[in-house]
Symmetry: C2
Subunit: 420 residues, 2 copies
C-alpha cells in the first residue's frame, strides 16, 4: 500500500525538527573517494614543484595576434560544439600537429588519427579508461610522473616499475618482467613510458632501446603507451624518433601536450592512436569537446610561430637549469648528486642516504620552499627515499638561487649534511 506509506511519511516529514541543522553529505560519500582537497593557501615563496613554465617566455604578442585573427575570422563557430571540426578537436590544430609530429618525431599520421584532449592529463584518463580495469597490471618506469602513478593506484591497477639508468628504462629488467609475467599468465595492459625527457629523471631513451622495447612489446603482445609531453624541450632541438614512429604494427599510443612548449594553463593535449582504440577513447570523452578558444588560438599561433618560439623558450630554460645546478653545487656541494639533463624543466637529485625527502618536504615547506619528494615520483619508495625533484622553469634566477640556499639550510639543520 504505497499510498498509505506515503501519507504517513509525509506526516512524519512535516513534524520533523531538523530542517535548519546543516545538511551532512558525509554519509552519502562512496567508499574509496580520495581525501578531501585542502583550501588553497596561495603560492609558496620558492615553489620548485609542478610542471609550470617560464612566465617571461609566454609568447604574449603572438597569442594576442592569434586570438584577434582567429576570432575575427572564425569566432562565430564558437556557437557550435566542436566548432566545424567534429568531436576530435579543431581540425587546423590537428593538421598542425600531424605536420609537426612528422617533422620532429617522424610520426606518420593525419588529422584523423589525432584526438585533441583537455591537457595530456585527460589523455592519460582516456587511455587508461579505454584499456584498464581493476586488477590489471601495467609496466612503467620505476621513477615516474606522480600523476600517472596516482591514476593507476586509484584505478586499482598494479604498476610494475622498471629501473632506469642514464639512458632511461633498462631493457634487460623489462625483458625479465615481461617473461616473468607471461610465465604467470599475466598480460600487462601496456608499457607506459616517458621516453623523451623522462619525468623525473630527464633521461632520453636511445634509438636502440626504443627498437628493443618495441621488439619485446611485439613479442609479448603488449601495447606501448608513449607519453612525449616534454619532447619539445631538448636543448639540442634534436630528438630520437618517437616509439610510435618506429612501430610498424600500430601497437603504440602516443600522447603529447602544449603545456610545456607554450603554456600549461592552456589545457590542450592530444592522443595519436589507431582508430580501433582511438574510437573507444572518443566514446569516453563526454565533455562536449576541449576548449575551442584555446585550440583556435594555439593553431593560429603555432602554424606560423611554434618553430621560432620553442628555441627561445629552451634557451631560457637551459639558463635557469644552469643557475639551479650552480646553486646546488654552491650550497650542497657533493651532497647533491645529479646528471646534467639534456632538456626539460626539472632536475632529479639524489641526497645522502640519511635524508628522508618525505620529511624534508615538510620542513622545507615551513621554510617557504616547495619540493617534490622522491617517494611521490617512484613506485620504489626505498630507492626514491633520499631523492627529490626540483622544477626550475617558473622561478627567477634569483629565486632559484635563494630557494636552493634556503633548502640547504633546512637540510643542514634537519639532517646535518656534511659539506652543506
Amino acid at each position: 500500500m504505497p499510498r498509505a506509506i506515503s501519507l504517513l511519511e509525509q506526516i512524519i516529514a512535516w513534524v520533523r525538527p531538523d530542517m535548519t541543522t546543516p545538511f551532512d553529505f558525509e554519509p552519502l560519500l562512496p567508499a574509496g573517494l580520495p581525501a578531501a582537497a585542502a583550501r588553497w593557501s596561495g603560492r609558496v615563496k620558492y615553489d620548485f614543484t609542478g610542471g609550470n613554465n617560464d612566465p617571461d617566455r609566454v609568447p604574449l604578442d603572438g597569442l594576442v595576434a592569434a586570438a584577434n585573427a582567429v576570432l575575427r575570422r572564425e569566432g562565430r563557430t564558437l556557437a557550435t560544439y566542436g566548432l566545424n571540426s567534429g568531436p576530435q578537436g579543431y581540425r587546423p590544430l590537428r593538421q598542425f600537429l600531424a605536420a609537426k609530429l612528422k617533422a620532429d618525431a617522424a610520426i606518420d599520421c593525419t588529422a584523423d588519427d589525432i584526438l585533441m584532449t583537455s591537457g595530456s592529463l585527460q589523455a592519460l584518463d582516456l587511455v587508461n579508461g579505454a584499456l584498464l580495469e581493476r586488477g590489471d597490471t601495467v609496466i612503467i618506469e620505476q621513477d615516474c610522473y606522480q600523476g600517472s602513478i596516482n591514476r593507476l593506484v586509484r584505478l586499482g591497477v598494479r604498476p610494475i616499475g622498471i629501473p632506469l639508468d642514464g639512458e632511461g628504462m633498462q631493457m634487460e629488467p623489462l625483458a625479465n618482467v615481461l617473461a616473468d609475467l607471461k610465465a604467470r599468465d599475466v598480460r600487462p595492459k601496456f608499457i607506459y613510458t616517458i621516453p623523451t625527457v623522462q619525468n623525473p629523471t630527464a633521461t632520453i631513451l636511445p634509438l636502440e632501446r626504443r627498437r628493443e622495447m618495441l621488439r619485446l612489446a611485439g613479442a609479448y603482445g603488449v601495447p606501448i603507451f608513449e607519453d612525449d609531453c616534454y619532447a619539445d624541450l631538448i636543448w639540442s632541438g634534436k630528438r630520437p624518433p618517437a616509439i610510435h614512429a618506429l612501430d610498424d604494427r600500430g601497437g603504440t599510443i602516443h600522447i603529447g601536450s602544449f603545456s610545456k612548449s607554450i603554456a600549461p594553463a592552456l589545457r590542450v593535449g592530444y592522443i595519436v592512436a589507431p582508430w580501433q582504440v582511438l574510437s573507444r577513447m572518443l566514446a569516453l570523452k563526454t565533455d562536449g569537446g576541449t576548449g575551442a578558444l584555446e585550440q583556435m588560438v594555439l593553431a593560429e599561433f603555432c602554424s606560423g610561430q611554434f618553430s621560432k618560439h620553442v628555441p627561445v623558450l629552451r634557451a631560457g630554460l637551459r639558463a635557469k637549469l644552469e643557475t639551479l645546478m650552480d646553486a646546488l653545487k654552491q650550497y650542497f656541494g657533493a651532497a647533491a648528486q645529479f646528471d646534467d639533463p639534456q632538456g626539460g624543466i626539472f632536475l632529479w637529485i639524489e641526497l645522502p642516504a640519511s635524508v628522508d625527502t618525505a620529511k624534508l618536504y615538510h620542513s622545507a615547506l615551513a621554510a617557504g620552499v616547495a619540493i617534490n619528494p622522491g617517494p611521490e615520483w617512484s613506485v620504489n619508495a626505498a630507492h626514491a627515499r633520499n631523492r627529490l625533484r626540483l622544477c626550475f622553469a617558473n622561478l627567477s634566477h634569483e629565486e632559484i638561487n635563494q630557494g636552493v640556499a634556503a633548502l640547504a639550510e633546512v637540510c643542514k639543520r634537519e639532517f646535518a649534511l656534511a659539506g652543506v
Copy 2:
C-alpha cells in the same frame, strides 16, 4: 627460476613471425566500455540537435577586446597551472559569478564556494563522482537531459523518473517515490533537477514547488542537485530564486554554465556547493585546471558586458522559436502538440501516438534532418515514444522553416499523419 624463463621467452620472442601483423587492441578492452565512436561525417543540413547557440549572437567584438585586455594585463600567468588563482579556477571569474548568482538567482555565496569546471558536463561528472557508486538510486525528472541519463546508466545507478506537467517536476509523485524508497530502506543519493527551463520540456518550476521539493528533500535527508545551465535564457529575464538560494541547510549542489549564455564551444561551467562536498569534487578534478584563456576572456567580457549581451541573445532566440512554432503549425497543424516555452533553445513536441520518433530519427536523418528522439531524453520510453526535441538556436530562420517542412514530409510518408 625467473632468469631462465626470461631467456627462454626472449628466444621465443626473437623467432616470432607476427612482428608486422597489425596490433589488435580488442582483446585488451575491458568489459562495459561504451560502443566505439563513429567517424564524424560532417554536420547535417538541418541539425535540430545539440545545445548549440546562435552564431549571429556570439559577442565577437567583446570577446576580442576581452582577449586583448586580459592577455596584455595577465598573460604571463598562463605559465602557471591555475594562474594565480589556485585549483578552484580563475578568481575574477568566480567573483563575477558570485555577484551574478546573487543578483539573478538570489544565491548567497562567495568565490570560495565556487569550483570552475570544463563545462557543466564535467560538473555532472564531479558531482556524480563524489556521491554515486554502482547500485545507487537517484531521483530525476522523467523527461530529462540525455547526458545526465546516460551518465547514470554508465555508472550503474538507477534513475527513478518523476512525471512533469506544465510547471516542471510534480511534487506528489516525488513525495510518493521518496516515501516508497524509505519504506524499502533505500536512501536516494540526490534529486537531480533542471528547475529553470527544464531540458527538454522547457518548464520552469514555480517557487512553491521549489519550497516543497526542499521540504521533502530535508525530511528524507536527500540532497538536491540543481542543474541551472539554461536559467539565463528566460525571455522575461525574470527567474525564480534558485533552489540553492532557498535552502537554509546547505543540502543543495548548484551547477551552471556559460555555454548557453555566451558560447558552447567555450568549455566553462561551475559548481556551487558546501565545502564538505566541494572539497571532494576538487580532489576528483585531476585535469590540471579548466582552460585558463577561456576563463580569463569570459571574466573580462562578462564583468562589463554579460548583462547587456544576454537580453540581445534572448531576443534572437525568441524570434527563432517563433519561426519554429509557426513552421510546425504550418506543416504539421494539429499533429504537433507543444507549449510555448518561456525560454531556452529547444522545443519538446508530442506527435500522434502512431509516430515512433526513434524510427523517425533514422528516416529524418536520411532526409537531412537531425532530431532528438524522445526515448533518448526520458527514463519513460513509452511516454516519450512519440515525442521529440528540436533545438532551434543554431539554424537560420530559413533553415528552421525548410527543416520543419522536410521533417513533415518524412512524417507524412512514413507515418501517414493526418493534417500533415
